[in-house]
């Protein structure tokens, strides 16, 4: 293994591929900027970061606090686990909605990531006739109001007599996830030099080998962030899902929204707490893996 990791991502210059100079610390040397000399502006931005993170978490603390409230409503009347109890024993509809959300998020994010990443590679690196068209097309779903995307998909599905349900929600979610995946992977690709591909080809790699061993690993951080973003947006979506959901395909945001008029039960708060804990657990388990991804970028 390497003895130390460079603090920054290094610029890969294939035209300068020569035998690395040997030195006391091994085959590479550490750049000067590894030593942070100026902490001034660094300190201010760190403070801002902490403030913003607190700002982001403040409502979360409120949600968690109220999940332990002994009564509904905003007055704190004492500590109680009744909502957790109700969550795990008496919330059939809630779990069904959550399950639907989860399935759709995973599947649509997966498909969107695969399709979007491939397209990002194709468009950024190769020239072909319909390139500009597809590129512009990929941005459009982001700039339409969600309502219109939702309604137009609803009308489209009814015009082709396609029944509304989980599949239509899946299609809609994949459609609005695509631009984000595409954008994130493209941004990652921007810095990656195409001549690496040529170098690989020169060294005799087949197209498949090039794809698997060179392209995929290098765009992995972009792909991963695209995938995570897609899951997040899919879990969150309300407006589009509302228009294309059918019998039995209520998702969590739909369920919560329909409860608004009747007052959101703290059971939802309890569910949020459970979700946050699970995600943190998963992030912790995959921590080393995530670090490797970040390091290899």
């Amino acid at each position: 293994m390497r003895t130390q990791q460079p603090a920054k991502r290094q610029i890969f210059e294939p035209t300068k591929l020569v035998d690395p100079p040997k030195g006391p610390i091994g085959p590479y040397r550490v750049p000067r900027s590894h030593v942070f000399r100026d902490h001034h502006w660094f300190g201010f931005s760190q403070i801002m970061l902490v403030v913003v993170i607190l700002f982001l978490f403040m409502p979360l603390f409120v949600v968690i606090t109220y999940s332990f409230n002994a009564s509904r409503g905003m007055r704190w009347t004492g500590f109680s686990l009744q909502w957790y109890h109700q969550l795990f024993t008496g919330s059939r509809e809630l779990w069904r909605a959550f399950g639907n959300s989860f399935i759709i998020a995973l599947s649509s994010a997966f498909v969107a990531t695969v399709i979007g990443s491939l397209a990002a590679v194709g468009i950024r690196w190769y020239r072909f006739k319909s390139r500009a068209f597809i590129q512009t097309l990929s941005f459009l779903p982001m700039i339409l109001p969600e309502v219109i995307i939702g309604i137009s998909m609803l009308i489209f599905f009814s015009a082709i007599q396609f029944p509304l349900g989980m599949v239509t929600i899946f299609i809609a979610h994949t459609t609005f996830n695509l631009p984000f995946v595409f954008l994130l992977v493209s941004a990652r690709l921007d810095e990656f030099d195409f001549s690496v591909i040529e170098a690989a080809r020169d060294l005799g790699a087949t197209e498949r080998q090039t794809l698997i061993k060179v392209i995929v690993p290098s765009i992995t951080p972009g792909v991963l962030s695209g995938f995570l973003m897609a899951i997040t947006m899919s879990l969150e979506d309300f407006v589009i899902t509302f228009f294309v959901s059918g019998p039995g395909s209520t998702t969590l945001p739909l369920y919560v929204y329909s409860m608004i008029r009747y007052g959101v039960s703290p059971v939802i708060n309890a569910l949020s707490m459970v979700l946050i804990l699970s995600i943190m657990l998963i992030a912790l388990l995959f921590r080393r893996f995530l670090k490797t991804i970040a390091a290899s970028s």
């Binding site: 690395p20 085959p27 905003m74 690993p217 228009f243 209520t250 329909s258």
Partner: protein, 370 residues
């Protein structure tokens, strides 16, 4: 500018290392997804009960869990519920092609619209003997379908005014409370055009269903000049929460929503008023839309829910008066938040067809402008 030299081999090794991890995690996620899908589909297949599956499209919580469970047990069926929070949402979905529901619960104006648009299947009254419990007074008001050919009444009620008596004293018990400047910044009305304009119309002595331009303009002026300056917002979603938290002291809204947010020990603090002037009233019915898969089970459900003891469970849950059912009152165990008699001066909001445009234009000047 300094650069670092990294050997090709190190890069490749690094990438394959992380690539293996990537492969593993993708594999893991795929397996997880497949397992979940299998699990869910198994859940669906075990629900192939002999009775079948009933798809309901209803207002949130409008049928209590206990009633649903009893039905599922007795008929060996599964009930799948989807919720909506407003007639408009429900209708927009059904109109644009959403189908597959066995029973939908529209309000009166939308029931008549759905009838006109031929979106419904007829009710077979032979299969619902419990229809005999439906109050004839209600059927009189349901002028769009007095013989229950297409719809069966479910519940009739109205939005009223909830007043926080701890904070508010000496107030008029009718719609003019919204003109009280002492309460400015502490009140809200529903974000519902027919409701708000209907209130203004009856306050001025006109009908809730008026289509007379002069009357409507007078009502709009009343709202804009006397009521709106005292209101914080038009809220059809969060009014109950805001009332319960003390944010608003007077809200126009639904009794069951307001009381649900409050602990029963505090219910005595609330004065829920149905103005003697009258106002807009709603009648929610059960209809069977075209495209329903299980028409027979739908009829069973309608019959089931109108059994007096079952219907009383529904009334108990929301503290509703037995406005639609003649027998259920005897089986109730709680006091309703308001009485059926209080609804006497209220009018059903009927569908006014193309004249809705007039309301739309006037409502813009109320809702869009500060």
């Amino acid at each position: 500018m300094s650069q670092t030299w990294i050997s090709k081999e190190v890069i490749m090794k690094q990438h394959t290392f992380s690539l293996r991890r990537l492969n593993l995690s993708i594999l893991f996620m795929l397996i997880a997804t497949i397992l979940i899908l299998i699990g869910c589909s198994r859940d669906e297949s075990t629900s192939q009960k002999t009775g079948g599956t009933l798809y309901l499209y209803n207002w949130t919580y409008y049928t209590p869990e206990s009633v649903i469970e009893k039905f599922e047990q007795e008929f060996n069926a599964k009930v799948v519920l989807d919720y909506f929070a407003s007639n408009e949402d429900m209708f927009a979905k059904l109109k644009a092609g959403g189908s597959g529901y066995d029973i939908v619960f529209p309000s009166q104006d939308y029931t008549s619209i759905m009838m006109k648009e031929k979106m419904l299947l007829p009710i077979d009254r032979e299969r619902i003997p419990n229809l005999r419990y439906i109050s004839p007074l209600v059927l009189e008001k349901a002028t769009y379908d007095p013989t229950m050919a297409w719809s069966v009444p479910y519940f009739m009620g109205a939005a009223g005014i909830a007043v926080n008596t701890v904070r508010v004293h000496d107030y008029p018990r009718d719609w003019s409370i919204f003109a009280d400047t002492r309460l400015a910044g502490r009140m809200s009305m529903l974000d519902d055009m027919r409701e708000v304009m209907g209130d203004a119309l009856v306050h001025l002595g006109y009908s809730v269903n008026s289509t007379d331009r002069a009357e409507l303009e007078e009502a709009t002026r009343l709202i804009n000049q006397r009521w709106k300056p005292n209101l914080v917002k038009f809220d059809a979603e969060g009014f109950a929460k805001s009332f319960a938290s003390g944010e608003f002291w007077v809200v126009q809204g639904y009794a069951e929503a307001v009381f649900e947010e409050l602990d029963p020990s505090r219910w005595h603090e609330v004065d829920f008023i149905l103005s003697p002037e009258g106002g807009p009233m709603y009648l929610d019915s059960m209809v069977i839309p075209k495209g329903a898969k299980n028409v027979e089970l739908a009829h069973e459900f309608i019959n089931f829910i109108h059994r007096p003891e079952i219907y009383a469970e529904f009334l108990d849950r929301f503290h509703f008066p037995a406005s639609v059912h003649t027998e259920a009152e005897a089986f109730m165990t709680v006091t309703p938040f308001y009485q059926g008699e209080d609804l006497a001066p209220f009018e059903l909001k009927h569908d006014i067809g193309a004249d809705l445009e007039l309301y739309n234009t006037l409502w813009q000047s109320i809702r869009y402008v500060n």
